[in-house]
C-alpha cells in the first residue's frame, strides 16, 4: 500500500530495483483465522523458480522431526497425485479476484488516498500516545502505519490486550526481538479505523501508563 505514495521501485537508485515483492492483504483480502494471504512479486530480469520447498522442525509435537512443504509453487503441480479425480487446493484465484476488484474500484488515486490516510492516522495516534506519561516515541524517522513506543520504566512488562470494544489491540510487544530498546511496543493505525470508531484516546495516567494500560485504543494492521 505504501507504494501508492512512494517512488516506483523501478526508479530507485541508478538502475532501479531488480525484484519487488510485498504483501497484498490490504488490497481487499479479508483475514480469516490469519489466512489466506496474498503476495505480489515482480522482477525485471530473468525468471524465478517455479517451486521452493521448505523444511521446519517442530520441537513440541514431532520431537524435532522435520516437516516439509512447498512454500512457493507457481501452479498446482501434483494433480495426478494418487490419480485424484479432483484437485482441491488453496484457491489463489479467489484472492486475485478480490484484489483485482478492490484495486479496480479504488483506483490509483484511491490507493494514494488510502496510503495518505494511513500516514495521517498514524501521526495522530503517535501524537496522542506520546502525551501519555511514561510513554515516548522511540524513533523520529519517517513512518507509514507503524510506530514503536517505549514504555517506562524499562523493566515493566504488559501483555498486549484487546480493547474494551474488541476492535483493537494494545500493540505488539517486540522486546524479545529488540531487547536493546528496553520495553518497546509496536502500534499501528490503518485506514480501516476512523477516529469516530476507534479514537486514539489515551486514558490512563501514572502507573497505568507504565503498565501500558493507557494504550487501549491503538490499532494494528490486522484488526
Amino acid at each position: 500500500m505504501s507504494l501508492a505514495v512512494l517512488k516506483p521501485p523501478g526508479e530507485w537508485g541508478a538502475k532501479g530495483a531488480d525484484i519487488v515483492c510485498g504483501e497484498g492483504q490490504p488490497l481487499g483480502v479479508a483475514l480469516s483465522s490469519g489466512r489466506p494471504l496474498l503476495r505480489f512479486h515482480d522482477h525485471a530480469h530473468g525468471t524465478t523458480c517455479g517451486r521452493c520447498p521448505a523444511a521446519s522442525w517442530d520441537a513440541r509435537r514431532l520431537d524435532g522431526k522435520p516437516g516439509f512443504t512447498l512454500t512457493l509453487q507457481a501452479r498446482e503441480q501434483h494433480i495426478r497425485r494418487s490419480k485424484a479425480t479432483s484437485n482441491i487446493c488453496t484457491n489463489q484465484g479467489l484472492l486475485v479476484t478480490a484484489a483485482t476488484i478492490y484495486m479496480s474500484l479504488v483506483g490509483p488515486q484511491g490507493l494514494a488516498k488510502v496510503a495518505s490516510t494511513c500516514i495521517q492516522r498514524t501521526a495522530e495516534l503517535v501524537a496522542a500516545l506520546a502525551g501519555v506519561p511514561g510513554v515516548r516515541v522511540a524513533f523520529n524517522g519517517p513512518r507509514f502505519h507503524e510506530a514503536v513506543l517505549l514504555l517506562e520504566p524499562a523493566g515493566s512488562r504488559s501483555a498486549p490486550r484487546r480493547s474494551r470494544r474488541g476492535a483493537s489491540w494494545g500493540g505488539v510487544d517486540i522486546s524479545r526481538d529488540y531487547p536493546s530498546l528496553g520495553n518497546p511496543l509496536l502500534v499501528c493505525a490503518t485506514e480501516t479505523r476512523t477516529p469516530g470508531t476507534s479514537p486514539p484516546m489515551p486514558r490512563a495516567r501514572g502507573r497505568d501508563a507504565e503498565r501500558g494500560r493507557g494504550l487501549r485504543n491503538t490499532t494494528c494492521a490486522n484488526s
Binding site: K15, T48, C49, C52, A55, F139, G141
Partner: protein, 66 residues
Amino acid sequence: MRAHRKSKSQRILVPRGVNPDYRDVLQAVAGGQNLAFELLPYDPRAAVTTTASLETGIAGRTSPRS
C-alpha cells in the same frame, strides 16, 4: 535467491528493521541452503537502514545484481 544461484555467494543481507516474522520466513524458506543471513543495523535515531550500513554490508562478497 536467483542471484545466489548464479553467484554461489553464501551471504544475504537483511535489514534489522524488517519485521521479525518476515525474517523467520526467510530462515524457513532458505535456511536449509546453508546461507548466512547477516543483519544490517539501523540508524538508532530514525530506525532506517542507511546507505552507509548497506555499503558496509556489501563490502563483503554478496550476490551481485543481475
